[in-house]
């Protein structure tokens, strides 16, 4: 009886683990696709991205080459991370890297949107600007919602897969 209960629970955790792994894989595919598209748009027009990046004043007073090099490297970084997520290679690293980027740029978008709303006296959700995200001018509130959804996807894609966790546990048990 006990053995059968243990078997059931193992089977249950196996099913839950498999569905979690499937969810993480799907999230990685979706996030990878979105970032490949965004990265590709920016790679095509680096000057446009440089303008947008400058608009955020993330590197104020720094040497110009820092901003220029960031405008060249960031789109490729997104593209590479997107491709890794789709391929399922270095999935956690790529997802966490994109999560970091999303957090930083969402804060920058928030700051810029609030500044524009303050200067123009417009309603916060009626503010529209080109965030340099590769999707052209977008409404501020919609961008925040979109970024929140992408952050959620990045968290899901960055979850450790059950096979990795099992492997790690086995390795540490063997070491003991």
């Amino acid at each position: 009886m006990k053995a059968s209960r243990a078997g059931n629970s193992a089977a249950g955790s196996g099913t839950a683990g498999a569905s979690a792994a499937r969810g993480a894989r799907l999230a990685a595919l979706a996030l990878g696709g979105v970032f490949c598209a965004f990265g590709f748009e920016k790679v095509r027009a680096p000057a446009e991205f440089l303008k947008a990046l400058h608009g955020y004043a993330i590197l104020p007073g720094g040497p110009p080459f820092l901003e220029n090099a960031s405008a060249l490297a960031l789109p490729w970084f997104e593209l590479l991370c997107g491709a890794l997520l789709i391929a399922g290679v270095w999935r956690r690293t790529a997802a966490l890297a994109l999560l970091g980027l999303l957090v930083a740029f969402t804060l920058a978008v928030l700051q810029r949107g609030l500044r524009i709303a303050g200067e123009t006296g417009a309603c916060i959700c009626s503010v529209r600007f080109d965030c340099g995200c590769g999707s052209g001018p977008v409404p501020f509130c919609a961008k925040l919602i979109e970024n929140s959804a992408l952050m959620l996807l990045a968290v899901l894609a960055g979850l450790p897969s059950p096979t990795c966790a099992r492997g790690r546990a086995r390795r540490s048990a063997r070491a003991r």
């Binding site: 680096p46 000057a47 440089l50 004043a57 090099a69 490729w76 970084f77 890297a97 200067e119």
Partner: protein
Amino acid sequence: MIAAVHGLLRLLLLGAAALACGLLANALRTSGGIEVLRDYFGSGEPGAPSAAGGLRERAGAEFVLIGVRDALRSWSASRVDPTLVLFLDARGRAAFEGGRVPGAVLADYYDPPRILTEFAPLLAAAPVSRFVVYCESDECEDGFLLCRFLRDSVGVDPSRIRLFLGGMRAWRRAGGPLAKGLLP
């Protein structure tokens, strides 16, 4: 701990690979690339104007700003005597081809090879007495940056430069004539 170090190393590798790809792709571009060492925005002024008000103040302190009515008047004058006014379009090539002021010249501020090697000597020797620079709208900084480029790098007297701040948006709204394609 080891996993965190691995993750960090992977991130560094990804960053280095992205920078290498970006620099290589930029070097292979024939147009529309970025000059890595160029100071596009003026190092003394961090941050870009986020709204029309900021840009208007900054540009107005350095150049004469004109509205759509003056721009239309200048354009009519340039039709009669082309040496009076030359319109310079500071937007990108695609926007220029899509619809511009008739007779305007493409002067994309972010296209260094064209602007530095072909355009600057032409402008320095241009017989026109006044340049009207425009961009997409009064939220667009590129017209202002082009005015600065004309003054600082080409050596055009700032009294000959007019910045049409409303740009193509105001021009279209006012029913100004439009031309399409690359040729004047």
